[in-house]
Symmetry: C2
Subunit: 414 residues, 2 copies
Amino acid sequence: MIAEIIAIGSELLTPFRQDTNSLFLTEKLNELGIEVVHKSVVGDDRAELASVARIALNRTDIVIFMGGLGPTEDDLTRESVAEAMRLPLRRDPDIVAGLYARFAARRIKMTENNSKQADVIAGAAVMPNNNGSAPGQWLEGSYEGKKKVVILLPGPPVELKPMFMEQAYERLRAIAPPAFIATRVLKVALMPESECDSRCAPIYKEHNGVQTTILAGPGDIQLHLKARADTLEEAQELVDVLAEELEDELDERVYSTGGESLEQIVGYYLQMRGATLAVAESCTGGLLAERITSVAGSSRYFLGGAVVYSNELKTAMADVPPLMIAEHGAVSKEVAIALAEGIRKKCKADIGVGVTGIAGPSGGTAEKPVGLMYIAVADGKKTDVIDRKVPGSRDRVRFYATQQALDMVRLKLV
Amino acid sequence: MIAEIIAIGSELLTPFRQDTNSLFLTEKLNELGIEVVHKSVVGDDRAELASVARIALNRTDIVIFMGGLGPTEDDLTRESVAEAMRLPLRRDPDIVAGLYARFAARRIKMTENNSKQADVIAGAAVMPNNNGSAPGQWLEGSYEGKKKVVILLPGPPVELKPMFMEQAYERLRAIAPPAFIATRVLKVALMPESECDSRCAPIYKEHNGVQTTILAGPGDIQLHLKARADTLEEAQELVDVLAEELEDELDERVYSTGGESLEQIVGYYLQMRGATLAVAESCTGGLLAERITSVAGSSRYFLGGAVVYSNELKTAMADVPPLMIAEHGAVSKEVAIALAEGIRKKCKADIGVGVTGIAGPSGGTAEKPVGLMYIAVADGKKTDVIDRKVPGSRDRVRFYATQQALDMVRLKLV
């Protein structure tokens, strides 16, 4: 079965706002073996909306409308879909009563325009909204003699997601042909996309039954694997065998096989080893600490650290000798090592990280260009240090440096 | 004139990838007075693509296709658009020669499939690609007897954006009816959306000629104003008058009127006053320093700071007395003040910031719930401190706290 997702709202046709619900819905539909073949965005215009609805009903089995279910005159989804399907709207007295009760509970008088939220397309089942006022609708109907499923969902993600999962997902599963789909995600740190692709491509080719997608970011690659089979066990077997072969090939470059982020994985390892972490960062300016502390519960292993932008602070916070900075420069292997070792001692941590570099866009020289970075990790026994030179914007250079630092901590702990 | 933007690529119908080019294109089209009335996403399927092209040509004046211009068998935009318009494709020998030269310069043999990038729709002008191999195309043609503009652009943003600006923007301006559009953005910190709306709505109503859009994030509101008139001066006058009235109403809550971010504004004020800044952050875990240092050139006024997750580090890095923590708790007004004053002295900065709070999702108590935060700003004369309790996720709480801290620094300097 194939589906189309239609996002409704003139604000989605401005430079400022974008539909993101469709990514969530696509993931859930794919789980059920339903492919999304079209996505459309249309404004709050009844004729356009009815036309888009007819086009979608013509070309797909399942049409999901998001938004336009509120009380204002711009909310036209109910009317337009009913018109496209040539079905009447009926005002549901139970929904009207519920709306009055909802307003009364808040001691607000309900304005009359709210009642239109109780208009239901003939034959549709109402999906109550536990997180807002506009209910959704589920309709199994026909269009041009063919069976169609039409779903109306509210636009706000906090309303749409629970309504879809609680009231539409199992209904779709009952209708869609049984589909057994298994997925896996391998995450790979610090490998160029072309190298990853050339090492993995020969392996993919021997596993035609598995669909693979590579997503690449700065210092980070995700390999998404998906297989479909006659049973869930068979589908799982297909992705697992491929995942295992890819892991063998990429070896320790694979940091996660269950969807976890690199900062989560570093947190797992630190907790497993009962170790604590502290960081001293210059060019990344707090981004490394921010990524580490974005993980809930990180206070169990992360003590803290210093953002040492000025040379004086490198000395005051991480005991980097001023003479070393004068001799080698703030962006140097020596200073990275001193930062890692200094912050480790200062914070009484098991592992210390030092990051120094030139994030750009200015501040580079011929000898020390923008994108140059030194990163060191100390554990009291041995201090690892590497230098890298990466291209790109300030954001990209900074993110890459934190990726490199996190991965070095991971490799210390594996 | 009205436009449709079509994003092409099966990866855009997965849960992993999303078109973002259309936001950029919408902004630029709106500048020319062209409204975007439809956006569509379609996979790499020739029949579907030709069908989507026909639908778009039927309902809009300008159709922009993005992606599907590469050398692989999945790249079908040229063929499908030509088919929809009933025009032949012609292979352009100059483009073929250019492709050979491009590969030769890299000492790589060109594979035959690359030649299809030289196929041009009859009547189209070629738009050379200075950042990739696939050229774009510009076609003024007709469909069902009506004049249409068709633009083919490559999918990668680094190729699409310069090609559009250098080779399509002025051509569109020459075709579109003269439009004089002026815009302004007011940014407002730390005001609830409902309060902002109720204070601004009466003012909007007296300025019907200006279109307003409110975008709200945690602790941040953007008011986008747009006006259209017979001359640019008139349009500018319309938005400027409204902007001024809104500024009068919202007063010092407005931090920026030229599109700058709060961290940029704080940087401007610090430079203007010749002042330096240091921060000591607990619950925000580096996010405050990260936001400040995301601004290029921030090393001129930001000295650095400390991420003090553990109580020991609050003492070691910012001289918070251990007895104070024992008596009032790490999340307290007293500790926020001590962090701000301590880090200011430690770093010899003009201004010191202290942030402590409970970001969640766990760690809250009845007395000190998740979302509680204390933020202090010290300048050596007076230390301001506030407490807030905000709802929402860990990310939201952390972002709000940094927003609050940056705005307090701004108000110290205004």
